[in-house]
């Protein structure tokens, strides 16, 4: 949609194309499997049958970042893992979103005081769209977070690509 982006003033609305594209994107957010620690178990529970995530269209977990548009960071991020996380985030194509799941990714969690090797919040590494607190958050909380993300996606418009521009402004440098 780059030929139409940022060409008009902010007041111009491109309605039905917007509505259709946002409906398509929000109803098929494919996550990248990025379960690092205990929150991964709750993410697996969400993927299983009781708290089915596939009814939101987000059940196709992709093992490769090239085919994913959502990265659910589920678990503690260490300094050793942070460089790999940056690399995988940079490999995801736009539009991409990040959900910080669990207390460790939101702000260090229980390791905030004594964790010498824990990144105190994954937003020090990648830009985050939705934060889900909890240790671990209930599967219903993760589903609520995905629904908030769907709301965020539905409010996007082709005429001004705010999120993509913000992502490009905050481009995370690929240092090792």
């Amino acid at each position: 949609m780059s030929w139409i982006e940022n060409r008009f003033e902010p007041g111009v609305i491109v309605t039905s194309i917007d509505w259709a594209i946002n409906w398509g994107r929000s109803s098929s957010i494919w996550p990248l499997t990025f379960g690092l620690a205990c929150c991964a178990i709750e993410m697996m529970a969400v993927g299983a049958s009781r708290f089915d995530i596939d009814r939101f269209g987000a059940g196709a977990f992709r093992p490769t970042p090239r085919q994913a548009d959502l990265m659910i960071v589920a678990g503690t991020v260490t300094y050793k893992m942070a460089s790999r996380l940056k690399r995988l985030y940079n490999q995801m194509p736009d539009p991409k979103y990040v959900i910080a799941m669990g207390a460790c990714t939101v702000g260090g969690g229980p390791y905030f005081k004594y964790g010498y090797h824990v990144v105190k919040g994954v937003d020090l590494v990648v830009p985050v769209d939705v934060y889900i607190p909890g240790c671990p958050p209930r599967p219903e909380s993760l589903l609520e977070g995905i629904m908030r993300l769907q709301d965020k996606i539905r409010h996007q418009t082709r005429a001004r690509d705010v999120i993509g521009q913000a992502n490009r402004d905050r481009l995370v440098p690929l240092t090792a």
Binding site: Y79, K113, Y114, Y116, H117, K120
Partner: protein, 177 residues
């Protein structure tokens, strides 16, 4: 064999290497000097009366008041019926090797028990004890370019690592209870 018998056997065989023994309590151990440790380790594994063929764990201690570092080797003799030294009842023992804090060197026993390979790498990574003649002397848990040895009592937490800031509670550089 009881811990007292093992201790007497060691003191008879290696009179100048075995220094002291603490045999009361649930964790009896013997203190061995660092430079004679590989011979004692080989004896503990091969002698049919001891037969310690399983190194359970290597723990490391930071004795900052005495300016020393110690590595404690937990050994266990697994009961076995085959082989040339059958053993019926299991017994366990521990050996403590003490070294200087400023220049800590302990000879590696990775050729005696294979489990010592990774345990010694962990003791080097987190406490800074250098194991001589180790087959693979690298850090195992922290990244390879990490500075310092985190489980020492005077360790200062890093302010940042590769551009990622490291914060602690109220900016304490060394959080302690």
């Amino acid at each position: 064999m009881t811990p007292e018998e093992i201790c007497q056997l060691l003191q008879r065989t290696f009179p100048d290497v075995v220094e002291e023994a603490v045999l009361a309590g649930a964790h009896p151990y013997v203190v061995v000097r660092a430079d004679g440790w590989p011979e004692v380790a080989g004896f503990l594994r091969d002698d049919p009366r001891c037969g310690f063929n399983l190194l359970r764990c290597i723990s490391s201690l930071d004795l900052i008041e005495e300016n020393k570092l110690a590595a404690i080797y937990d050994l266990c003799a697994v009961p076995r019926t085959t082989g040339d030294a059958p053993l019926v009842c299991p017994h366990q023992f521990a050996v403590r090797v003490v070294t200087d804090r400023a220049d800590p060197h302990i000879p590696s026993v990775a050729d005696v028990w294979e489990a010592a390979d990774w345990h010694e790498r962990e003791a080097f990574d987190l406490m800074g004890i250098v194991f001589d003649n180790h087959p693979d002397p690298r850090r195992i848990l922290c990244p390879d370019d990490w500075e310092g040895h985190p489980l020492r009592k005077d360790y200062v937490f890093p302010k940042e690592y590769h551009g990622i800031p490291g914060t602690t509670e109220w900016e304490m550089p060394n959080p302690r209870h």
